[in-house]
C-alpha cells in the first residue's frame, strides 16, 4: 500500500496532531486485558435473557410467565406491565415498546425478560413462558406500505416519512436520458463485540448504574430515565468497552431490560446477546428501491435528475426519517445539478427494524447515482471518469436542496488522484495460489475463465447531524500540577478518538502527559459516535476546552514574565513571548496549579427541509473517490477484488495511521455490501442469522488498498479535519459493481445491468448471457 502521507510511528516525537501515535489502549487490547462490556462482572450478578417473538406480526392473546417463576434459579420474570415508566422508546419518535403489549411487529421483538442465577436457568425460564399468539398477515412489501389504503400495522401509520424535493425547472429535458432501478438489500453492521450490558442497582432502587457498549451515553440515559421513571441523574452510564458499532448501537437494545431486572431483583444483572439474537436485536441498513432518471446535454452535463426512493424501515421508525432525508438530499451525488424532482418514502413493514448504519442513506443513493453516471457515460460516448469530471461539484455549488456547499469540495482532485494511483501489478489469475483467483479456496476457476474489469465511484457525504439537530459535544480539560486529564462522554467504539484527544491536548497545551478519565455521564453529552462527527465535534470540544485552559496558562505566564497574555503563545512544550522570543517550559508555569475548564462545542445551525425539499439542512460535507479492479469468472459469476484505490478528502489527517485504518475498514464494509452481505428475509423471517450464511469479507477477500489522503484543511472544521469514518464505505460499493459490469462487457456487447446489490453469482451469469435482470429479486 502506498500513501502520500508518512505513517511511521513518531515514537521519538511528542505525539501531537499529525503524528501516527499508537492507541493508548492498544497494549491492553493485544494482551486480552481490555475490558469489553461482555467482560464485566460483579459479585452476586444475575444473568438476564430476553423472550422474543417468533412471528413477524401477531396478536398476543395470552402471556403466562408463572411456569418460569417455578424454575430453580429463576429470580424474576418481567413483561410490559412491569415497565416502571414509559413503555416506549425511539431516537426520533418513541414508537417502539420496551416490551411488547398486545401485538408483536417483527421477528425478534422482545416480549418478556428473565433474570436467573445461570444462563442455563435463563434458557429454561424462557422456554417455560407461555405465549399464545394469533398470527396476523405480515406486511412485507414496502410498496404496499406506501398505499394509503394498506392496513396500518402501527398506530402511527405505515409511512414514516415522505419527502419531496423540487429544484429548478421540472419540465426541462436532456438530449440524453438514462434510467435505472436499483434494489439494495439489507446490510448488517455485524460488529464483533456482541451486545452486552451490566446494571447495578442503587440500594432501594433509587437509581442505577449501567455499563454498556453504546454509541451515545446521554441519549441512552434520557431514554432510560423515561422508561425507568427515574430522574436523569439517577441513571448513571459508564461506557463498557465497545467491540465496534457502525450505527448498530445507536438505538436502545438491552439497556432498559438490564436495568429493569437489576432494579426489580436488587442485584447486578448482566445480559449478553448471542449472535443470532444480535441479528434481530439491533437495527440494520435500510433496504431500498431507487429509480433514477438522468437527463444530460450533448456534452454529458447533467440537466435534470428525477428520482424515487423507497426505504423499508421495518417495524419501528428508529432514525428512518433522517436516513430518508440523507438519501434524497444526496441524489445528485458530488455533481452539479440545477433541476430535480425527487420523491422519497421511508415506510413501515413487519420486516426487521432499520436505522443507522455507516453511510446512513447515502450508501444507497450513491449506488444509484454512480450507476447512473456510468450509463450516462455510455450514452454520451465519453469515459466514466470524464463524465464525472465534467459534472464535478466544487465549493460554492448548490445541492438540489438549494444549499450551497461551503465545505472544501475537492471532487476533481479526488477523481484525478484516484486515477493516478498505480494499477495493480498482479497478472490476471496468478497460478501460484488459489486465493489469486475468483472462487479462491474452492479451486473452481482457471486463468482462461477470468476477465478483469475496472470501475469507479465518487461520493459526497454530509457530516454531523442535520435538519436543525444541535448535536453538540462537551469536553472537560483538567490540568493539575502539569498532569492533563481529559473528561468526555465520547463513545470510543474502535475509531480512535481516545488516540487523537490526547494529541490535541498535547498540541494545544504543550504538555505531554495526558490521561483520559472514565467515559461516562459524569460530564455533558458528546453526541453520538456516528455521522463521521466525533473528530469535528468532540475533537472541537477537546480543542476548545484545552484552549480555554491555555488562555489561563498564558495569563499566568504573562503575570510571571511580564506583559499581557496576548503577547504569548505555546510553541512545542514552551510558552514563548511572540515579540522577543523569551520562553519558559509550560510544565514550570503550571506547577502546583489547577486548571479545570468544560466547554460545549456546537456546530453552526441547520434547518429542516420544507415541503419542496429546500433548506440548508446539512452541516458540512466530505468527498471521496474509489477505483476497483476485479477479476470475474463470468461463467460461474464469482468475483475476486484485486485492488481498491481511493483518494479521500480528509481535511487534515490528525493521525494518518488511524485514518488509513478507517479507510481500509470502511472499504471492507463497502466491498461486503457489493458482493457478499445481505440479510435474507422471507415473509418477515430472517433466513441467515449467523456468520455461516451472512458473509463478511475475510482476510482472503480483501485486496490491497492504495490510498491518497487529500488534505485541504476545511476552514469550518475546528482542527481543519473532516470526519473520515463514512466516506470510505460509500463509493467503493458502486466502484466494485461498475468493475464487474466492465468485466462482463468484455464477454458480450451491449449495456450490462446489475440492478440488485449485493451482486449475486447468478446475476453475473445472467448478465453475461445477455438476459434482462430488471426487477429480478431471486437468485
Amino acid at each position: 500500500m502506498t500513501t502520500t502521507t508518512d505513517t511511521t510511528n513518531q515514537t521519538a516525537g511528542r505525539g501531537v496532531i499529525g503524528a501516527s501515535v499508537t492507541r493508548p489502549d492498544g497494549v491492553a487490547k493485544v494482551r486480552g486485558e481490555f475490558e469489553f462490556s461482555s467482560d464485566l462482572s460483579a459479585d452476586g450478578a444475575l444473568w438476564g435473557a430476553t423472550l422474543r417473538s417468533p412471528y413477524p406480526r401477531a396478536r398476543i392473546v395470552r402471556l403466562d410467565t408463572s411456569p418460569a417463576l417455578g424454575i430453580a434459579g429463576v429470580t424474576c420474570v418481567l413483561t410490559a406491565e412491569d415497565v416502571p415508566g414509559r413503555n416506549a422508546f425511539g431516537l426520533v419518535d418513541a414508537d417502539q415498546p420496551v416490551l411488547a403489549v398486545d401485538e408483536v411487529r417483527f421477528v425478534g421483538e422482545p416480549v418478556a425478560i428473565v433474570a436467573a442465577e445461570s444462563p442455563e436457568a435463563c434458557a429454561a425460564a424462557l422456554a417455560a413462558i407461555i405465549v399464545d399468539y394469533e398470527e396476523l398477515t405480515p406486511l412485507v412489501d414496502p410498496e404496499v406500505a406506501i398505499d394509503p389504503t394498506s392496513e396500518a400495522i402501527h398506530p402511527s401509520g405505515n409511512v414514516i416519512r415522505h419527502q419531496r424535493i423540487e429544484c429548478g425547472d421540472p419540465t426541462v429535458t436532456g438530449q440524453f436520458v438514462v434510467e435505472g432501478t436499483y434494489e439494495i438489500g439489507m446490510q448488517d453492521q455485524a460488529f464483533l463485540g456482541l451486545e452486552a450490558a451490566m446494571a447495578i442497582p442503587d440500594p432501594g432502587g433509587t437509581g442505577v448504574e449501567l455499563h454498556v457498549a453504546t454509541q451515545w451515553l446521554h441519549e441512552d440515559q434520557a431514554q432510560l430515565a423515561a422508561s425507568l421513571a427515574l430522574p436523569t441523574d439517577a441513571v448513571r452510564l459508564t461506557l463498557g468497552g465497545v467491540g465496534g458499532a457502525f450505527g448498530g448501537r445507536e438505538d436502545l437494545s438491552l439497556q432498559v431490560h438490564t436495568c429493569m431486572l437489576a432494579l426489580r431483583t436488587g442485584r447486578p444483572v448482566r445480559i449478553h446477546y448471542s449472535r443470532p439474537e444480535s441479528f434481530v436485536g439491533h437495527v440494520h441498513r435500510h433496504p431500498a428501491t431507487i429509480t433514477m432518471r438522468h437527463h444530460a446535454d450533448a456534452d454529458g452535463r447533467i440537466v435534470k435528475i428525477e428520482a424515487q426512493f423507497i426505504l423499508d424501515g421495518g417495524a419501528y421508525a428508529s432514525t428512518s426519517s433522517a436516513v430518508l432525508v440523507n438519501a434524497v438530499t444526496h441524489t445528485q451525488g458530488p455533481y452539479r445539478c440545477d433541476n430535480a424532482v425527487v420523491d422519497g418514502w421511508a415506510v413501515r413493514t413487519n420486516n426487521l427494524p432499520c436505522g443507522a448504519m455507516r453511510g446512513f442513506g447515502v450508501v444507497q443513493a450513491c449506488i444509484a447515482h454512480e450507476a447512473q453516471m456510468d450509463k450516462l457515460a455510455e450514452a454520451c460516448g465519453i469515459s466514466p471518469l470524464d463524465v464525472r469530471r465534467i459534472n464535478a461539484m466544487a465549493t460554492g455549488d448548490r445541492l438540489i436542496t438549494g444549499q450551497i456547499v461551503e465545505s472544501v469540495a475537492p471532487v476533481l482532485r479526488c477523481i484525478d488522484e484516484t486515477d493516478h494511483l498505480p494499477l495493480p501489478d498482479m497478472p490476471l489469475a496468478p497460478a501460484d495460489h488459489p486465493y489469486g483467483l475468483p472462487g479462491g479456496a474452492g479451486l473452481t476457476t482457471d486463468a482462461t475463465d477470468v476477465v478483469r474489469g475496472i470501475g469507479y465511484g465518487v461520493s459526497i457525504k454530509n457530516l454531523m447531524y442535520s435538519e436543525g439537530f444541535d448535536d453538540f459535544s462537551t469536553a472537560r480539560c483538567i490540568v493539575d500540577n502539569g498532569q492533563v486529564t481529559l473528561k468526555f462522554a465520547t463513545a470510543e467504539v474502535g475509531q480512535g478518538f481516545v488516540t487523537i484527544a490526547p494529541q490535541i491536548a498535547r498540541t494545544v497545551l504543550g504538555l505531554d502527559v495526558v490521561d483520559i478519565d472514565t467515559i461516562d455521564t459524569g460530564v455533558g453529552s458528546a453526541g453520538s459516535t456516528s455521522a463521521s462527527r466525533q473528530t469535528w465535534m468532540s475533537g472541537g470540544a477537546v480543542d476548545a476546552a484545552c484552549r480555554k485552559v491555555r488562555e489561563k496558562i498564558l495569563e499566568a505566564a504573562a503575570a510571571q514574565m511580564g506583559g499581557a497574555s496576548v503577547e504569548y503563545t505555546v510553541d512545542n512544550t514552551d510558552v514563548v513571548h511572540l515579540g522577543d522570543g523569551r520562553r519558559m517550559p509550560v510544565v514550570d508555569i503550571v506547577r502546583d496549579r489547577l486548571y479545570d475548564e468544560t466547554v460545549e462545542y456546537h456546530h453552526r445551525p441547520t434547518v429542516p427541509l420544507d415541503q419542496s425539499g429546500r433548506g440548508d439542512c446539512h452541516t458540512a460535507f466530505a468527498f471521496a473517490a474509489h477505483r476497483a479492479v476485479v477479476d470475474v469468472d463470468v461463467e460461474l459469476g464469482l468475483v475476486k477484488v484485486i485492488q481498491i484505490a481511493t483518494a479521500q478528502d480528509v481535511g487534515r489527517a490528525l493521525n494518518p495511521l488511524s485514518v488509513i485504518g478507517q479507510i481500509e475498514g470502511g472499504i471492507a464494509q463497502g466491498l461486503g455490501l457489493a458482493v457478499y452481505e445481505e440479510i435474507i428475509m422471507d415473509g418477515g423471517h430472517i433466513m441467515n442469522a449467523s456468520f455461516t450464511d451472512y458473509l463478511l469479507p475475510t482476510i482472503a477477500d480483501m485486496p490491497p488498498v492504495e490510498i491518497a489522503l487529500i488534505e485541504e484543511p476545511d476552514p469550518q472544521a475546528p482542527l481543519g479535519a473532516k470526519g473520515v469514518g463514512e466516506p470510505p464505505c460509500i463509493s467503493v460499493t458502486p466502484a466494485v459493481i461498475a468493475a464487474i459490469r466492465d468485466a462482463i462487457s468484455q464477454v458480450r456487447p451491449g449495456p450490462v445491468d446489475l440492478p440488485h446489490i449485493p451482486v449475486r453469482p447468478m446475476d453475473i451469469v445472467r448478465a453475461a448471457r445477455g438476459e434482462s435482470l430488471s426487477r429480478i429479486m431471486a437468485d
Binding site: P119, E120, A123, S274, P276, Y435, G439, G440, A441, G442, L443, T444, T445, D446, D449, E635, L636, G637, L638, K640, V675, Y676, I680, D682, M687, N688, T692, D693, L695, P697, T698, A700, D701, R760, P761, M762, V765, A778, D779
Partner: protein, 256 residues
C-alpha cells in the same frame, strides 16, 4: 458443540475420542490409504494424501478455516452427512469404504450405504467410524466447490471428478445438489466413451463430448432452492465445474 453453545445442553454422557490414537492417524498401504475416523483435515490436506489422493487433500484444504481444519475430522464429516459435506463427493467418486465398528461387529460400507438421507446415516447408536479406506488410483482427479467468498464457505455446489486410467473410468461425486452425495451413472458412461475407445485406447474428448457429458451431469443433479442459492444456479454451476474438470483432465492426459 454449536448446539450446546446455543443453549441445548448435553443430556447424556459424552465419550471423547481424542486419545484413541489408532483412529487419529492414517497409513498408506499399497493402493489404499486408510484414514482414521478421527483424522483431522489438516492431516488429510498434507502428504501422503496430497500426492496419493489429491482430490481428497484439496477437499480437506477447502474446509472452513485453519481452526476448523485442526479440529474437524473425516469421520465427523461422514457422520454428520450434510448434503454439502466437502469430503463426501470425493469419497463417493472414489468408491471409498467406511469401516464402522461397534462392540459386537465391524462393517465395511460404501458411502451410499452409510449416508442415506440429508443428515441421516445408517449407523447404529453404538457404532463408530474408525476408518475410511480410500483407493489410490492412477489418473487426474480434483475437487471444486462454489462459494461466494474466497474462503470459509459452505459449498453451494461441490464437484469431485476422478479419472481412473487403469479401470478406464471417470466418476463424478456431486454435493449440495441432492439429499446425499450423488454419482452420475449416465455421465460416467458417456465420459468413459469420450476418454477411451472401445478397445481401451485413450482418445481426446472433443469440446462437444465435454459439453454433452456436462449436460448429463446437470441432468443427474437434484438441486433445491434455499437461502443460499437456487435450483437454476446450482444446476448451471454443477455443469460448469464438470466441464472444466473434464477439460483439464483431457489436457492432462494429452500432455502425458
Amino acid at each position: 458443540m454449536v448446539a450446546v453453545n446455543h443453549g441445548h445442553p448435553m443430556t447424556s454422557d459424552v465419550v471423547s475420542l481424542d486419545r484413541v490414537d489408532e483412529i487419529r492417524g492414517l497409513t498408506l498401504d499399497g493402493d489404499v490409504v486408510r484414514i482414521g475416523g478421527a483424522a483431522t483435515w489438516t492431516l488429510i490436506a498434507d502428504e501422503p494424501v496430497r500426492s496419493t489422493v489429491p482430490a481428497l487433500a484439496q477437499a480437506a484444504r477447502t474446509v472452513g478455516s485453519p481452526q476448523i481444519r485442526n479440529a474437524g475430522t473425516i469421520g465427523g464429516n461422514i457422520a454428520t452427512a450434510s448434503p454439502a459435506g466437502d469430503s463426501l463427493g470425493v469419497l463417493a467418486a472414489l468408491d471409498a469404504t467406511v469401516e464402522v465398528r461397534s462392540a459386537s461387529r465391524t462393517r465395511l460400507m460404501a458411502i451410499p450405504d452409510v449416508i442415506i438421507g440429508p443428515k441421516v446415516t445408517s449407523l447404529e447408536a453404538d457404532e463408530l467410524i474408525v476408518a475410511v479406506h480410500v483407493p489410490v488410483v492412477r489418473g487426474w482427479q480434483s475437487y471444486a466447490k462454489v462459494g461466494v467468498r474466497n474462503a470459509m464457505v459452505i459449498a453451494t455446489v461441490g464437484v469431485a471428478t476422478v479419472v481412473n486410467e487403469e479401470a478406464r473410468s471417470v466418476s463424478f461425486g456431486l454435493t449440495s445438489v441432492g439429499p446425499t452425495p450423488l454419482r452420475c451413472p449416465d455421465a460416467e458412461v458417456a465420459a468413459c466413451e469420450a476418454f477411451w475407445t472401445l478397445d481401451g485406447t485413450p482418445r481426446t474428448p472433443t469440446a462437444r463430448d465435454i459439453g454433452h457429458i456436462a449436460e448429463l451431469v446437470m441432468e443427474g443433479a437434484q438441486p433445491i432452492d434455499d437461502h443460499r442459492s437456487s435450483v437454476e444456479y446450482r444446476r448451471h454451476s454443477v455443469g460448469v465445474l464438470a466441464a472444466r474438470h473434464l477439460r483439464t483432465a483431457a489436457r492432462t492426459l494429452r500432455e502425458q
